[in-house]
C-alpha cells in the first residue's frame, strides 16, 4: 500500500483519455466508449478491493462487531 497506486490510477486515466480522443477522432466512437468502460472497470476493481480492506481494518482496529 503506497503512493504508487495513485500514480497508477492517474496513468490509466490519462491513457484512456488519450486512446478515447484518438479513437473518437478516427470515427470509432463505439470502441472509444468500450475503452473508457474498460479503464473504469480496471480502476474500480483496484479501488473496491482497497475499500473492502479498509473496512476490514477498521473493524479490527476499533473492535467492531
Amino acid at each position: 500500500m503506497g503512493v504508487e497506486i495513485i500514480f497508477k490510477i492517474a496513468a490509466i486515466g490519462i491513457l484512456t483519455t488519450v486512446i478515447n480522443q484518438i479513437l473518437s477522432h478516427a470515427g470509432k466512437s463505439e470502441i472509444a466508449t468500450l475503452t473508457n468502460l474498460a479503464g473504469l472497470v480496471i480502476v474500480l476493481a483496484m479501488v473496491l478491493s482497497m475499500i473492502g480492506e479498509l473496512f476490514e481494518n477498521v473493524k479490527l482496529l476499533f473492535n467492531l462487531f
Binding site: V3, I14, L40, L54, V58
Partner: protein, 143 residues
C-alpha cells in the same frame, strides 16, 4: 508508567515522519485529481478515494498506539473497559460513515450522503446506549 512515557518520546520523530508522509500523499492526490478533473471526473473521484485510503493506512499504527495509551490510562483510573471499548467503537463507526458520506458528497450525490450520515447517527446512538445506561446507573446510585 515510565516505560510508557519513554516510548512516547521515542515516537515523536516517527510521528513527524508520518505527518510529512501524509502531507505528501495529500498534495500528490490533489494535483493528480485536479489534472484529471476536466477530462475524466470519474477517475479524479477514484484518485481522491485512494488518497484517503492511503492516508488511513499510514495512520493505523498511530491510532493503535493511541488506543493502547487510552486503555492504559483508563485502567489506572478504574474506568470499566466496556465503556472505553464502546467509545472506541463509536469513533470507528463515525470514521467509516464520514468516509462514505464524503465520497458520496464529492461525487455530487448529496441525497445519498445525507442518508449515509443518518444511518451512521442511528448506529452511533444504538452503540452509545450502554454509556447512557451507565450514566443513569451512576446517577441512581448517587441518589
Amino acid at each position: 508508567m515510565l516505560s510508557c512515557f519513554s516510548t512516547c518520546f521515542e515516537q515523536k520523530g516517527e510521528i513527524k515522519k508520518l505527518l510529512f508522509k501524509i502531507l505528501g500523499v495529500g498534495i500528490v492526490t490533489v494535483i493528480l485529481s485536479s489534472i484529471l478533473k476536466n477530462s475524466r471526473s470519474d477517475f479524479s473521484l477514484l484518485i481522491n478515494i485512494c488518497g484517503g485510503l492511503i492516508i488511513f493506512y499510514i495512520l493505523i499504527d498511530g491510532i493503535t498506539e493511541l488506543f493502547d495509551g487510552i486503555g492504559f490510562l483508563s485502567e489506572n483510573a478504574n474506568i470499566s473497559s466496556s465503556i472505553i471499548s464502546s467509545i472506541v467503537k463509536v469513533i470507528g463507526v463515525g470514521y467509516v460513515t464520514e468516509f462514505c458520506a464524503d465520497i458520496a458528497e464529492d461525487s455530487g450525490n448529496k441525497f445519498v450522503a445525507n442518508k449515509v450520515i443518518l444511518g451512521g447517527k442511528i448506529a452511533l446512538c444504538v452503540m452509545a446506549f450502554p454509556i447512557i445506561r451507565y450514566l443513569f446507573q451512576t446517577i441512581i446510585s448517587l441518589i
